[in-house]
């Protein structure tokens, strides 16, 4: 087989192959071709997404590191910074759910401590098909225990995430993991191979034949054949990673450490070429020096292995023994495998003989960018739904119960109770609220964390869906009392080669950018995952927004639970006549259509400011944003989590189901002592936010009356017990059955 042909088999296009030949001035050998093929895969090169990602706002005075490094970094004062990043492990999890998810968690943790930060929290954003399918059930169970076992063993609390079920994800589940770390600003390190003559060392686990070509695997759609590619799935060793974490953090206190980089997709090839490219240097290494787990590995295999729990470390020459000493303490090896050079080449030797020699920059950054044209999907024209044809159900109490039982709304306790979310004793608000809150020991501060995205919204209107994901994430932080500071995003899409998918991608990015700009929340890191499709279906476009916010005084945090009988319940924001894309239509009428609710970003901004100020003033007892399931579900959730009831009356001419279950945006349900009402009203007036009393917190029962101006009246009446029962138990019942 000719080289060009082989290149094609490895996924390189003719144009790409020619460029490689031109760059090298010769044909690449097998090792070089393998290295190029993984580094220029979509997963490593971002060749399909780069130009669009530039549209994100990424700058703000508090951004210490934006996209481009292992993770983003945000200044939070007190000389501290927060490091954050989210990443997908969708394809590995579709093939081997337990190990796929576990190694996904392992990988994102390494990204955080590669910056020198102590990881303090994990979040996981999950999407699966419907649980009635036995294979989906197997995938879901495996993914959750994989995440649990890895994060729990590491002693990093998993404090939040999301869990959605929709047939769109049946063949291709989404498993996104986010990690957050804290660091003193002077301790920040970067993944740069600086200083010619400095030593390049490999630390952590021995190298085996794991996951060779994993990066290209992630850049293909799933097919029957993917099953046969299974050996590329790696096994995670969280114990090894825990030792690696402690050893690296100990090491990184030393001034003579120049750079550090985790080995993820494309293993040594990626770590070496990226660190060299960032520093404008080269690296020469000898694969014979790499400790192996298996006999007889070729240079090709060593360079492309994706064995987990390894790091590349660049130290000043002469400090190799110091590195070894630190790693020995943790029973880990550290081996010098090469040196930083000045010629910009990544030169791979085997026992002194050159087996590959390519420009590091060309490998890491040279993949030709692919410009694509999007095409508005035809289905978008069918989204107009005539609601007048949908009859409002007679028994709205029953509807509310059905919504509370819907797995997209019901409690996710079955998931997050398998995650240690209290280790490190910082978790002030555990999973179960709108966002998790962690204190930062040694300061008065706290951080709040969330991930959000509604794939159905993004499917029906990618631009509005993108906007909404950012708005909702920010709102979820704000209701805890945190000011949103930064976004990390994980863009999960189908194949970019499909113009309709590309359109979704472009529009989602526009929506995210627009919302991020107006709400003033920069994007500091992220990840793109394409090819999430099978022959029968493409996933919903799912740009997951991970967001982090800051509380100046963590004791002032707020939760979603109603607290005191007698408290007034007030709606901040306005009810709208929107029903499109709602969980209500999906669950009750089996309709996934209509226009998703629209976010007025200026109004959203005022609402968030008002809520933040009210929490800061200490006048609220609880705050919970209205999202899936609408107003009735939001109130019910505040009741169930507070183990307390509600009674209220709403006057409105909006049709009853839209009022109760429509997912109109920019609304927050708060509760407060009656004496605080004037202060809240004053604040709301000042910010131009509507505030309306909905009712009161009462013991035990749940009653909402709605009346319109014509005097017609509808009601929901339920006992707290029956609501709590379906909301708390539905997921468990479904999985355990």
């Amino acid at each position: 087989m000719g080289k060009a042909e082989e290149a094609k088999k490895l996924g390189l296009t003719d144009e790409e192959y020619n460029l490689i030949v031109q760059t090298l001035g010769r044909e690449p050998n097998d090792v070089e071709l393998g290295m190029y093929s993984v580094m220029w895969s979509e997963h490593c090169s971002y060749k399909n997404s780069k130009p669009l990602l530039k549209r994100f706002p990424t700058k703000a005075p508090h951004v210490l590191q934006g996209p481009g490094e292992n993770a983003g970094i945000v200044d939070i004062g007190d000389n501290l910074a927060v490091v954050l990043k989210i990443e997908s492990h969708n394809h590995p999890s579709a093939v081997e759910p337990y190990q796929g998810a576990a190694t996904g968690v392992g990988g994102i943790i390494r990204d955080i401590f590669a910056m020198g930060a102590r990881p303090v929290a994990l979040l996981d954003s999950l999407r699966f098909g419907e649980l009635d399918d036995p294979r989906v059930k197997y995938l879901f169970g495996g993914v959750v225990s994989g995440i649990a076992d890895y994060g729990n063993c590491m002693g990093i609390p998993t404090v939040g995430g999301e869990t959605y079920f929709n047939d769109a994800y049946k063949d291709n589940p989404l498993v996104n993991a986010m990690c957050v770390g804290i660091i003193r600003q002077e301790d920040i390190v970067r993944g740069k191979a600086q200083g010619v003559g400095n030593s390049v060392m490999l630390v952590g686990a021995a190298t085996g034949r794991d996951g060779i070509h994993g990066a290209s695997f992630a850049s293909e759609e799933l097919s029957e054949e993917s099953e046969s590619k299974r050996p590329s799935v790696q096994v995670g060793d969280p114990f090894m990673e825990k030792l690696l974490l402690e050893a690296c953090l100990e090491l990184l206190k030393e001034k003579w450490v120049v750079g550090i980089q985790d080995l993820g997709a494309a293993g040594l090839t990626s770590a070496c070429s990226e660190t060299a490219a960032r520093a404008g240097t080269g690296i020469e290494l000898d694969v014979a020096l790499v400790p192996r787990r298996e006999k007889g590995m070729t240079p090709y295999e060593v360079m492309l292995s994706e064995s987990q729990e390894r790091m590349l470390i660049i130290v000043e020459k002469g400090h190799e023994e110091d590195v070894k000493r630190i790693f020995e303490k943790w029973d880990l090896y550290a081996v010098k495998i090469g040196e930083v050079t000045g010629d910009g080449m990544l030169r791979v030797l085997e026992n002194g003989k050159v087996v590959a020699e390519v420009p590091a920059k060309s490998l890491a950054e040279g993949a030709p960018v692919i410009k694509r044209e999007g095409k508005r999907p035809a289905y978008m024209d069918m989204q107009d739904l005539d609601y007048s044809k949908i009859e409002i159900p007679e028994n709205l109490s029953e509807v509310l119960l059905q919504l509370l039982a819907s797995l997209n709304i019901a409690s996710k306790a079955w998931v997050y109770q398998q995650y240690d979310h209290t280790v490190r004793t910082n978790t002030v608000v555990p999973p179960g609220s709108d966002a998790a809150v962690l204190r930062i020991k040694g300061t008065k501060k706290g951080i709040a964390l969330t991930t959000d995205c509604n794939g159905l919204y993004c499917y029906l209107d990618p631009y509005e869906g993108g906007k909404q994901a950012v708005a909702e994430a920010a709102r979820n932080l704000v209701v805890t009392g945190a000011k949103p500071l930064a976004i990390t995003d994980c863009l999960n899409f189908g194949s970019p080669e499909n113009p309709e998918v590309y359109y979704q991608f472009e529009k989602c990015i526009e929506g995210i950018s627009q919302a991020a700009r107006i709400l003033e929340i920069p994007v500091v890191s992220g990840n793109v995952s394409f090819y999430n499709e099978s022959c029968s279906r493409v996933i919903f476009p799912t740009p997951v927004i991970g967001m982090m916010g800051l509380l100046e005084d963590v004791t002032k945090h707020c939760t979603i639970a109603f607290k005191n009988p007698g408290d007034l319940v007030v709606l901040l924001g306005e009810n709208t006549d929107e029903l499109g894309a709602s969980e209500y239509l999906r669950v009750i009428f089996n309709i996934q259509g209509g226009k998703p609710p629209r976010v007025d970003l200026e109004r959203e901004k005022r609402l968030q400011l008002c809520c933040l100020k009210a929490i800061e003033k200490g006048i609220l007892s609880s705050a919970h944003d209205v999202s899936e399931g609408g107003l009735a579900v939001a109130i019910a959730e505040s009741c169930i989590t507070g183990n307390i009831g509600f009674e209220g009356e709403i006057m409105s001419d909006i049709r009853a189901d839209a009022l109760l279950f429509g997912e109109g945006q920019s609304r927050i349900v708060v509760s407060l002592k009656e004496e605080n009402l004037p202060a809240l009203i004053e604040l709301a007036d000042k910010e131009g936010v509507k505030a309306a009393v909905l009712g009161r917190v009462v013991p035990e029962y749940f009653r909402i009356n709605i009346k319109d101006s014509k005097g017609s009246c509808k009601k929901i009446e339920l006992s707290l017990k029956e609501m709590a029962e379906v909301w708390s138990k539905s997921l468990e019942r479904k999985v355990e059955r």
């Binding site: 076992d149 729990n152 063993c153 002693g155 114990f239 004793t425 020991k441």
Partner: protein, 241 residues
């Protein structure tokens, strides 16, 4: 009172225990790395923290018990020093034979992280003298292998000698199967050795010892230790006379 927290490879509640003893109780605290030995005289309290020593590979706590630091722990236990094993620390104490019985995987094979109610079995110990016997307290658990097992004779003896410190219970103190999160025999959540100076427990008192974390029921355990060490309470008399 000088406290030591042993750091095994894979310990991850070491910092939490250290924080409670030092910052919450205001006592001197030190980490002891598993490769080091120490003299029993060096410390008044030795904490074996939670986590996944050696990844909990093979069996939880099985490998950690061979650490050099454990040699010193045996000696300290013999000398009557207080040894507190929490979660993985409890598992290590069982494997080490400092406490009777063994730990198995939770009966539903799942990791459990949530609050549980505990009925105080005995307040007559250096660790629980600030609780009332029969009192119900709330503490978080976070473990995958907390299913305590011992044969009937051992259980009988633990009861007779009043060595069961906590039982999983409901909010009202009823010891029911529903309130048992992991399948432990007789809902046992924590036990003492014969001399009452070694306590192993699965729940995490260090995670509920500060107002900001929403629960301070665990703080009294550490305060009990201080009361005892500072000689303000005596224990064990009722039984031994």
């Amino acid at each position: 009172m000088r406290g030591a927290v042993i750091v095994f490879p894979g310990s991850n509640c070491d910092v939490d225990c250290f924080h409670v003893w030092k910052d919450v109780l205001g006592q001197p605290a030190e980490y002891v790395f598993h490769k080091e030995k120490f003299s029993p005289e060096d410390f008044d309290l030795i904490i074996l923290p939670g986590g996944f020593s050696y990844g909990d590979y093979l069996r939880a706590g099985a490998i950690a018990r061979f650490s050099p630091a454990m040699d010193s722990v045996y000696k300290a236990a013999e000398k009557g020093k207080l040894i507190l094993g929490i979660c993985n620390g409890f598992q290590i104490l069982l494997e080490a034979g400092l406490l009777p019985g063994a730990m198995m995987k939770n009966r539903d094979l799942k990791f459990h992280c949530h609050d549980v109610y505990l009925k105080v079995g005995t307040a007559d110990s250096p660790f629980t003298n600030m609780y009332l016997p029969g009192e119900v307290v709330k503490m978080p658990i976070a473990h995958g292998e907390g299913n305590y097992y011992a044969d009937a004779d051992t259980i009988e003896r633990l009861k007779r000698e009043d060595r069961i410190v906590f039982y999983y219970s409901d909010e009202k103190g009823n010891i029911t199967d529903e309130a048992n999160p992991n399948g432990s025999v007789e809902n046992i959540a924590g036990i003492l050795n014969e001399e009452r100076n070694v306590l192993g427990m699965m729940p995490h008192p260090e995670r509920c010892a500060e107002e900001i974390l929403g629960n301070t029921d665990g703080k009294r355990l550490f305060m009990s230790i201080l009361e005892y060490l500072e000689g303000r309470v005596k224990i064990g008399k009722s039984r031994r006379s």
